[in-house]
Amino acid sequence: MTETAAAPLLEVSDLRVEFGNPRHGDVASVLNGVSYQVSAGETLAVLGESGSGKSVTAQTVMGILDTPPGRITGGSVRFKGEELLGADPERRRLLRGESMAMIFQDALSALNPVYTVGAQIAEQFRFRRGMSRKDAMVKAAELLDLVKIPNAAQRVREYPHQFSGGMRQRAMIAMSLALDPELLIADEPTTALDVTVQAQIMELLDELCRERTMGMILITHDLGVVAEVADRIAVMYAGRIVEEADAASLYAHPAHPYTRGLMASVPRLDGGGGQLDPIPGLPPSLSAIPPGCPFHPRCAHAEDRCRSELPSLRALDDPDATGDDHRAACHFAERFVGASPEEVLTP
C-alpha cells in the first residue's frame, strides 16, 4: 500500500441516495450514509450482496446514476479535493475517462455491437486527443496488446461478437485505460466469466493497477476474489458500510456478525465442515429498513439495544490492523474482533 499524505484520490462521505417518488410514499433508501476513501495505487474492495448499494455508490461517484428515479439526498464525493456532486455536468464529463473510468459486469452489453472493438476504443483518442482516425486505431491496437489480446493488430478490426467473454472484458479494460485514468471502478468485472478466465482478468487488473499506481474500487460479492487482490475491504449491508479494514485483518478478525456470517456461508474447496452456517432470513427491503441496526433481524447476537439504536462505524482495537484502520458498525464489535472466524460465538 502506498501512503499518500495529501488528500486521498477519492473521498466519499456520508453519501445518501434514494429511489422512488416521495409523493407516492414509495421511497427506497438505497444509500444511507456511505463513506470511504481510496488512495492512489490502492485497491478498495466493496463487498456486499445484491441490493446492498455497492453499484449505486459507484454510479454516483462516476456521475452516471439515473436521476430520476434516483435522488442524491446528501453527502459529498471529492476527487482530489474537488467536489463532484453538483459540479457542472461538462466538468464531470471531462473527468470521466480522463480521471476516472469504469468497467462493467456484462462486457457484451457494454460494447456497441455495430462498431469494431478498435473503433470504440479509438473514439476516445479522436475526440479527446484530436487524433486522426488512423493514429487512433494504432493506439487502440497498442491498448489491446497491453491487455494481452493476441494478434491485437488484427483483432482491433473485429466486432464484439467475434470476441470471447474474457476477451470482451479485456477490451473493456483497454477502453477504460485509454486516457490514463487515476481511478478505475470495476463493477463485478469477473462475475460473468469462468474461473480460469476470471483468474486471468483479476491478475491483469492487479498488474495494471500496480504499474500505473492507479486507484481501484473493486465491487464484488465474491469473498475469494476480494481476498486475492484487495488492499482494503468495505463490507456493505442495506446501504451502509458495516465493516471496513485492511484485507488481512478483515479475514483474520471479522468484527461484524454479518461479515462473519458471509464467511461461514462460503463452501470451501478443502471440504471442511458438513453443514454450512448460513445467515438466516433475507436482507431487508430498502423501503422498510428495520430500526436500530439494520442487520438485527438476522443476527443471532441481537439485543434490545440493537433494535432501537443504530450503531455507528467506529474504530476497533485490532492488534493486527495498521493504525485504527479496522472499523465496524456493531454495538458488540469488541466481542467479535478477538475471535477467529470459525469460532462459534454463543449469543
Partner: protein, 337 residues
C-alpha cells in the same frame, strides 16, 4: 455396492449447424456432449463441474429426455430410458425431476405458488387425489422452508432464494428418486446460496434422493457431492470421489481449475502456486484433434494431438483421468485456516 439407479453409456449429443433458409444444409456439428459415461447410485450425489460450453447443461437436458440423444444409452433402473414411450415414459417422469438455474424465468409469473407446486399433481393425478392436493402443496412448502400460508402468492412476491425453494418444492412433488440440479444456486447471493445448499442436503437424507448436481462453482460441488465428474468440451476428463478430485487431481485441466479458484484468505496471497491457463475454450463445433485440452495444456506434446487419451486409472492416477501424463500435481494449494 448397490445397483446403479442411472447408468449412462457413451452418451453423445451433437447439434447440427445449418446454413440456408429454404434449402437447409448441415455444414457442421456442435459436439456438445461427446461420449459421456457414468453411473449414479441411490442416495448418491454426482457433481458435474466444468466451464461454460463444456456441455453440462446439454447433458442435463438429454438425461431429462428434453432433447433426444445422437447416440448412446441411458438406463434407469435397468430399463432403457430412450425406449420408453407412452405410459411408461410418463411413469418414469415421476421418478426423475429437475431444478433449474434461474428462479426468475423457471416459474410462471401468472400462476400462484399453489398452482406451480401443484401442477405435477394435475399431470399425475394418481399421486394425489384432488381433495388432498392443497394439503400436499402446503406440506411441500413447509418441507422446503416456505410459509404454507403463502400458497396464494405469485412468484414476484418472493426473493430469489425463496423462488429457488419453490422450484425445489415442485421437483419434490412427485417424490422422485433422482433430481437433476442444473446450477441451482449460482444465481443466488452467498448467504442465500448456503441456505439452499443446506436444504438440498437435508432433503437428500430425508427422502433418500440421488442428485446429479451440475455447477461451475467448485466449492459448491465439493460441498454437496460424493463423486465428481469434471467436463471439458463435451467429455468427462476426470472422475472420482470428491476426495480424489479435490485432493489428488491428476488431470491438468482439473488442476488448473482448482488453482484458479480464488481462496478467501488474504494470508495465502502469493503463497500458493497457480496454474494459469492461457486462451479460451476452443469452439465445440471444431474441437481439437486428440486430447481436447491440449491447446491450453501446459503439458501437451505431439502425442496429445495424435492420440486421444482414454478415461482410465493409470499408474500415477488412482481414479479415471483422461490424460497421457496424468499425475498428482502435489497436495492442493489450499490453506487450512
Amino acid at each position: 455396492m448397490s445397483q446403479p439407479i442411472l447408468q449412462v453409456k457413451d452418451l453423445v449429443k451433437h447439434f447440427p449447424i445449418t446454413r440456408g433458409v429454404v434449402f437447409q444444409k448441415t455444414v457442421g456439428q456442435v459436439h456438445a456432449v461427446d461420449g459421456v459415461s457414468f453411473d449414479l447410485h441411490p442416495g448418491e450425489t454426482l457433481g458435474v463441474v466444468g466451464e461454460s460450453g463444456c456441455g453440462k447443461s446439454t447433458l442435463a437436458q438429454v438425461l431429462m429426455r428434453l432433447e433426444p440423444p445422437t447416440s448412446g444409452t441411458v438406463t434407469f433402473d435397468g430399463e432403457d430410458l430412450f425406449a420408453k414411450s407412452g405410459a411408461a415414459l410418463k411413469a418414469w417422469r415421476r421418478d426423475m425431476q429437475v431444478v433449474l438455474q434461474d428462479p426468475y424465468t423457471s416459474l410462471n409469473p401468472r400462476k400462484t405458488v399453489g398452482d406451480i407446486v401443484g401442477e405435477p399433481f394435475e399431470i399425475h393425478p394418481e399421486v394425489a387425489p384432488k381433495g388432498e392436493r392443497r394439503r400436499k402443496v402446503q406440506e411441500l412448502l413447509d418441507v422446503v422452508g416456505l410459509n404454507p400460508e403463502h400458497i396464494r402468492r405469485y412468484p414476484h412476491q418472493f426473493s430469489g432464494g425463496q423462488r429457488q425453494r419453490i422450484g425445489i418444492a415442485r421437483a419434490l412433488a412427485l417424490r422422485p428418486r433422482v433430481i437433476v440440479c442444473d446450477e441451482p444456486v449460482s444465481a443466488l447471493d452467498v448467504s442465500i446460496q448456503a441456505q439452499v445448499m443446506n436444504l438440498l442436503g437435508e432433503l437428500q437424507t430425508e427422502f433418500g434422493l440421488s442428485y446429479i448436481f451440475i455447477a461451475h462453482d467448485l466449492g459448491v460441488v465439493r460441498h454437496l457431492s460424493d463423486r465428481v465428474a469434471v467436463m471439458y468440451l463435451g467429455k468427462i476428463v476426470e472422475t472420482g470421489t470428491s476426495e480424489e478430485i479435490y485432493e489428488r487431481a491428476t488431470h491438468p485441466y482439473t488442476q488448473a481449475l482448482l488453482s484458479s479458484v480464488p481462496v478467501p484468505d488474504p494470508a495465502a496471497r502469493g503463497k500458493r502456486e497457480t496454474i494459469r491457463l492461457t486462451g479460451d475454450v476452443p469452439s465445440p463445433a471444431a474441437p481439437p484433434s486428440g486430447c481436447r485440452f491440449r491447446t491450453r495444456c501446459p503439458k501437451a506434446t505431439d502425442l496429445c494431438a495424435e492420440q486421444e487419451p482414454a478415461l482410465a486409472a493409470g499408474p500415477a492416477s488412482d481414479h479415471p483421468s483422461a490424460c497421457h501424463y496424468a499425475e498428482v500435481y502435489r497436495t492442493l494449494p489450499v490453506p487450512s485456516r
